[in-house]
C-alpha cells in the first residue's frame, strides 16, 4: 500500500480559539441569575422592612423576632417538626421491614411489589391527599360511609378523620416511604452474600446473622432514608394545604403561602423561608456524610448471590403486611380517584346505573380554565425540558471532560438548587422578578425559570453519569483518525448519549407537570398550570374534575416512566416530589 493522503501543508496554522473563558462566564452568570438572585432577595427581604416615614428599606431583625415569638408563626414551626419527625419514623417502621422482605427473603412477587412502590413514588402527593379526602373525610369519606353501613352507627359518627394531624402525618408517610424503601432495598441488594456466609460459617444462625451483620450494614442507608423522609415531609406544600388548612392548623409551607395572601407580608415570608432553606442544606449534608462514610462502603471483589432467607409459614403475615402497606398509598386512593371520575357525586360509589362521562366532558369542554392550564403546562413542560436538558448537557460535558478550567464551580452551581425547597424558591423568585430589571411576574417566564432551576440538579446528575459512561478515549479515537472536536461529538458522543438525553428530557417534562410548591407562589390567572388548577378546583369542591385531571396526569407519568425504563441501558431513577 502507498500513502494515499496528501501531505500536511507546512504553515497551515491552527489558531487556538480559547472558548473556555467566555463559556464558563456565560454559564456561571446564567446559573448565578437562576440561583443567587432569588436567594439574595430572600435574605435581603428577611433582614429589612420599609420605614413608613421615609418609604425606604432599612435593616432590621424584627422579622426574625416575630418569627420566633409570635405564636402564629411558632406554632407552624412546631407542627412542621412534629409532622416531619412522626412521618419519618412511620416511614422507617414500614419501609425497613418491607425492604428486607423484598430484598432478602423468598417472598413471592417481589418485582410486582417493587413496581407498586414505584407507583406510589410517582403519585403526586397532593393528588394522594385529595384521594384520601375522598376516602376518609369525616362525613363524606367512603371509608367512613362503609363503617356506618357496617355498624349502623349514627349519621355523624366516623372512624377516620383525615383533617387532623395524624391524618396529615399518615398521608405524608404514604408518599414518602418509597424514599426509605428504595434506599434500604438497594443497600440490601448490594450487600454481598459472602458477608452473611462468613458469619454463618463461624456459627451464627440465620437470625443472629441478620441482627449482627445484615442490619448494621444497612443502618446508614436507613438513617439516610429517615433524613430524606424528614426533608420531604418538611418541604411538602400540597398535602398540608389540602388537609391541615380545613383542620385549622398550619405547617411552615402553608404559613409561608398564607403570608402572601391579602394583606401580603413578603418580609415575614422571606424570614420564614430561611429556616427551611437552612434545615434542607443541613439535612442533605447529613445524608451525604452518612452515605459517604468509607467504613460502611462494602469492600471486596466478586461475591456470590445473597442467600434468601426462607420465610416458611411466616410468608402469610408478611404478605398481608405488604398488601396493606401498598393498599394505603396505591390501591385505595386510585380506586377513590377512579370512582370520583366516573360518578356523579365523588363520594358515592359508582354503579352501572350512575356511571357517567359528565365529569370528563365538564373538565375538558366546559371548564374554561382547563384548556389554558393544559396549554400552559404543555408549553412550560416542553420548554423547561428542552432548555434544562441543553443546559445540563453543556455543563455535564464541561465537568465530565474537564473541558474548561473552573468546571467544578459550574458543577457546584448546577447541583445547588437541590437544597432549595420549591416553596422557598417560589418566594425568592417572586421577590426577584416583581421589580426591575426583570419584571417577569405574571408571565410564563418566571415559571419557566422556577422549573428549570428545580429540575437542573437531577438532570445534571443523570447526564453527568451518562457522560462518565462514555470513555473519553472513544472521542480521542475519532480525533486521531481525522475528525474535528465537533465532528467527534456528532459521530460518537451524540449517538451514545441519545437515550440518556431522551430520558432526561422526559423526566424534566413529567416533574414539571407535577410541580405545585413553586407554581402556587408564582401563578396568575393567565399563567395557571394543571397542578394549580387541581388545587383551585379543590377549593371549589369539584372532586370529579380533579379526579379526571389527576388521572390524566398519572397516565402521562406512568407512560413516560414505563417508556424510559424500556429504553435500552437505562434504569429508573428518582423523581423529585414537591
Amino acid at each position: 500500500m502507498t500513502l494515499a493522503l496528501p501531505a500536511q501543508k507546512e504553515g497551515r496554522r491552527t489558531f487556538k480559539v480559547d472558548f473556555s473563558v467566555p463559556v464558563l462566564l456565560t454559564f456561571a452568570a446564567l446559573l448565578c441569575v437562576l440561583i443567587l438572585l432569588p436567594i439574595s432577595w430572600l435574605v435581603m427581604y428577611s433582614l429589612s422592612e420599609v420605614d413608613p416615614a421615609t418609604k425606604e428599606r432599612v435593616f432590621t431583625l424584627a422579622q426574625f423576632r416575630t418569627l420566633f415569638s409570635d405564636p402564629d408563626l411558632v406554632e407552624p414551626l412546631i407542627t412542621t417538626m412534629i409532622v416531619a419527625i412522626s412521618s419519618s419514623v412511620a416511614c422507617c417502621l414500614v419501609a425497613a421491614p418491607m425492604g428486607w422482605l423484598v430484598a432478602r427473603t423468598d417472598m413471592p412477587m417481589t418485582k410486582v411489589i417493587r413496581a407498586l412502590v414505584t407507583a406510589s413514588f410517582v403519585t403526586p402527593p397532593f393528588l394522594g391527599a385529595i384521594a384520601w379526602e375522598i376516602l376518609a373525610a369525616p362525613n363524606s369519606g367512603l371509608l367512613n360511609k362503609l363503617y356506618r353501613f357496617l355498624t349502623g352507627a349514627e349519621m355523624d359518627a366516623y372512624l377516620f378523620n383525615i383533617y387532623s394531624m395524624p391524618g396529615l402525618i399518615f398521608v405524608i408517610a404514604c408518599y414518602t416511604f418509597p424514599y426509605v424503601f428504595v434506599l434500604v432495598a438497594n443497600a440490601l441488594d448490594r450487600i454481598p452474600g459472602d458477608l452473611e456466609d462468613a458469619s454463618s460459617i463461624l456459627g451464627a444462625g440465620t437470625w443472629t446473622t441478620a441482627r449482627r451483620v445484615t442490619i448494621p450494614l444497612v443502618l446508614p442507608a436507613l438513617l439516610a432514608g429517615a433524613l430524606v423522609a424528614f426533608l420531604q415531609a418538611m418541604i411538602l406544600f400540597g398535602s398540608p394545604a389540602i388537609l391541615a388548612l380545613p383542620a385549622g392548623f398550619h405547617t411552615m409551607t402553608t404559613k409561608i403561602w398564607s403570608l402572601f395572601q391579602y394583606p401580603p407580608k413578603p418580609e415575614l415570608a422571606a424570614a420564614a423561608s430561611l429556616p427551611l432553606l437552612f434545615l434542607t442544606v443541613m439535612l442533605l449534608r447529613g445524608q451525604q456524610m452518612i452515605l459517604g462514610r468509607k467504613g460502611y462502603s462494602i469492600v471486596g471483589g466478586k461475591s456470590g448471590e445473597p442467600r434468601l432467607i426462607r420465610l416458611g409459614w411466616f410468608v402469610v403475615p408478611a404478605m398481608a403486611f405488604v398488601v396493606i402497606v401498598l393498599m394505603l398509598p396505591v390501591f385505595l386512593p386510585y380506586f377513590a380517584l377512579l370512582n370520583a371520575a366516573f360518578s356523579p357525586i365523588a363520594t358515592n360509589l359508582v354503579t352501572s346505573a350512575t356511571f357517567t362521562m359528565k365529569n370528563f366532558h365538564f373538565t375538558f369542554f366546559e371548564l374554561s380554565t382547563t384548556q389554558l392550564a393544559l396549554k400552559n403546562t404543555f408549553i412550560l413542560g416542553a420548554a423547561s425540558a428542552t432548555i434544562g436538558t441543553v443546559l445540563a448537557l453543556v455543563i455535564s460535558y464541561a465537568t465530565a471532560r474537564k473541558a474548561i478550567t473552573g468546571y467544578r464551580v459550574l458543577g457546584f452551581l448546577a447541583t445547588a438548587p437541590i437544597a432549595i425547597p420549591g416553596i422557598v424558591l417560589g418566594v425568592g423568585l417572586f421577590l426577584a422578578y416583581t421589580r426591575p430589571p426583570f419584571v417577569l411576574y405574571g408571565t410564563l417566564w418566571v415559571l419557566l425559570i422556577a422549573y428549570i432551576t428545580i429540575e437542573l440538579p437531577a438532570a445534571y446528575q443523570q447526564l453527568q453519569s451518562a457522560f462518565r459512561a462514555v470513555h473519553p478515549e472513544l472521542e480521542d479515537a475519532s480525533r486521531i483518525l481525522g475528525a474535528t472536536r465537533l465532528r467527534s461529538l456528532r459521530d460518537v458522543t451524540a449517538p451514545l448519549l441519545r437515550t440518556s438525553v431522551l430520558a432526561t428530557w422526559c423526566f424534566i417534562f413529567v416533574s414539571t407537570v407535577r410541580e405545585l410548591s413553586a407554581a402556587i407562589m408564582l401563578f396568575t390567572s393567565e399563567t395557571k398550570v394543571v397542578s394549580v388548577l387541581i388545587f383551585d378546583l379543590k377549593e371549589s369542591g369539584d372532586l370529579g374534575a380533579i379526579a379526571i385531571l389527576g388521572l390524566s396526569m398519572l397516565v402521562l407519568t406512568f407512560t413516560v416512566v414505563i417508556f424510559i425504563n424500556r429504553l435500552p441501558g437505562f434504569g429508573s431513577s428518582g423523581l423529585r416530589n414537591t
Partner: protein, 353 residues
C-alpha cells in the same frame, strides 16, 4: 519520510513535571517502545505526540514540520497519525465494518476503494466473518484486532499504541505481540508503543526507551538495555537483576563483601561507593569451594524454591546482602547450606547511578 523528533519536550501540571525535558529522535519506519512503571510519563509523552496534550516547553517535529510547541499545537485530527487505545475505544454503536471504515469516511475516500481496503484489512486481521457484528459481541482479542484494523486502514505515517495488550490474557498477549510486529514490518510506518511490560517491549521494539520520573533513563536496542543497563533503575526495572554496592577499588574493581569484584566496564572510576548489577541467572552457585578464586563469594542459602524448569535461590553473603540466583533445576542445595557464588566478571556491570 516521517521521522518523529522530540526536542526538550516538557509537560508540567502546576509545578509537577510529568514529562521532563525529553529529547528523542525516532527514525522513519522504526518501532520504538516507551517502557516504564506507571506514572513515569510515558502515556503523557504519547498523548503529547498525538496532540491531545499541549507541551509546556520544547517541541515535536514530524518530518520537517513542527506539530507541537507551547505556542501552537496542530490538533490530533490533522497529524495523519493513528492510535490504539488501552480501552480499544471501539464505538459501541457502530459495527466492526463501520468502526474500521470511519477514518476513510472522514477522508472522503470513494465507496469502491473503501470496500477494497476494508476487505484487505479484514483478511489481514482475520476479521472477515465478523464485519457486521457490534464490538460488544466480540471477545477481547477480536476487539483488539478491530482496533488494530481501524488504526491501520488509514495508512498512517505514525502509529501510536497505548498499552494495547494490557487487557488481554497471557496467551493472547503473546500472539498479539507478534501480530503487531508483523503488521509493522509489512507496512513500515513509524510506531511508538507504550507499555510497562518489559517482555512486551523486548519482543516488539527496535529501540526501547526506559522512562522514569518524566525522563528517559536509557534508550537503546533491547540487547543494550538488557545486557548493558547504565543505571540502577534500568537494571532493576528490566528485571531479574541483583544490584549490590561496595567501595570502589582501583583497576575496575569493587569491594563486595570483602571480595575485590572485577567488573566488565573498567572505565567507571569513581571514589566512594559503586553499584554493580548482575543478572540472577548469570551467577553460578556451587556447593563446593572452587579452586579459582576470582569473583567468588561465599554465601549461605536462605531458602530455595523449585520452579519446574529452574530453581530460585535466596542467598546471603557475609556482609548481610541478599542475592537472588536462578540455577538449573538439577542444582539442589538445602536451605542453611554453605555455597560459593561465582559472579563472572563479564556479567558484572558497574552502574552510573
Amino acid at each position: 519520510m516521517a521521522s518523529v523528533e522530540l526536542r526538550d519536550l516538557t509537560k508540567r501540571y502546576g509545578s509537577n513535571a510529568v514529562v521532563d525535558d525529553i529529547s528523542l529522535t525516532i527514525a522513519h519506519g522504526s518501532l520504538v517502545c516507551l517502557l516504564g512503571p506507571s506514572g513515569c510519563g510515558k502515556t503523557t509523552t504519547l498523548r503529547l505526540i498525538a496532540g491531545f496534550v499541549e507541551p509546556t516547553a520544547g517541541e515535536i517535529r514530524v518530518g520537517d514540520q513542527q506539530v507541537s510547541s507551547p505556542q501552537r499545537t496542530l490538533p490530533p485530527e490533522r497529524r495523519n497519525m493513528s492510535m490504539i487505545f488501552q480501552s480499544y475505544a471501539l464505538w459501541p454503536h457502530m459495527t466492526v465494518a463501520e468502526n474500521i471504515t470511519y477514518g476513510l469516511k472522514l477522508r472522503k475516500i470513494d465507496t469502491a476503494t473503501t470496500k477494497r481496503k476494508l476487505e484487505a484489512i479484514l483478511a489481514t486481521t482475520r476479521l472477515a466473518p465478523l464485519a457486521s457484528r457490534y464490538p460488544g459481541e466480540l471477545s477481547g482479542g477480536q476487539q483488539q484486532r478491530v482496533a488494530l484494523a481501524r488504526a491501520l486502514i488509514v495508512e498512517p505515517e505514525t502509529l501510536l499504541l497505548d498499552e494495547p495488550l494490557s487487557n488481554l490474557d497471557a496467551n493472547l498477549r503473546e500472539e498479539m505481540r507478534f501480530e503487531i510486529r508483523r503488521l509493522h514490518d509489512e507496512y513500515r510506518y513509524t510506531t511508538i508503543y507504550v507499555t510497562h511490560d518489559q517482555s512486551e517491549a523486548m519482543t516488539t521494539a527496535d529501540v526501547i526507551c526506559v522512562m522514569n520520573g518524566g525522563k528517559i533513563e536509557q534508550a537503546g536496542s533491547p540487547e543494550d538495555i538488557y545486557d548493558r543497563p547504565n543505571s540502577e533503575f534500568v537494571a532493576r526495572f528490566i528485571g531479574m537483576s541483583n544490584v549490590v554496592r561496595g567501595k570502589t577499588l582501583a583497576e575496575g574493581r569493587v569491594d563486595f563483601s570483602g571480595v575485590p569484584l572485577r567488573v566488565s566496564n573498567a572505565t567507571v572510576q569513581r571514589s566512594g561507593d559503586t553499584a554493580v548489577s548482575i543478572r540472577q541467572h548469570s551467577i553460578r552457585l556451587m556447593a563446593k569451594e572452587p579452586a579459582e578464586k576470582e569473583n567468588v563469594v561465599p554465601a549461605t542459602v536462605v531458602r530455595q524454591v523449585f520452579l519446574g524448569s529452574s530453581r530460585d535461590y535466596l542467598v546471603e553473603v557475609a556482609d548481610g546482602t541478599q542475592l537472588r540466583v536462578v540455577t538449573p533445576a538439577s542444582d539442589a542445595v538445602a536451605a542453611g547450606s554453605n555455597v560459593w557464588l561465582h559472579l563472572p566478571h563479564e556479567s558484572c556491570r558497574a552502574l552510573s547511578a
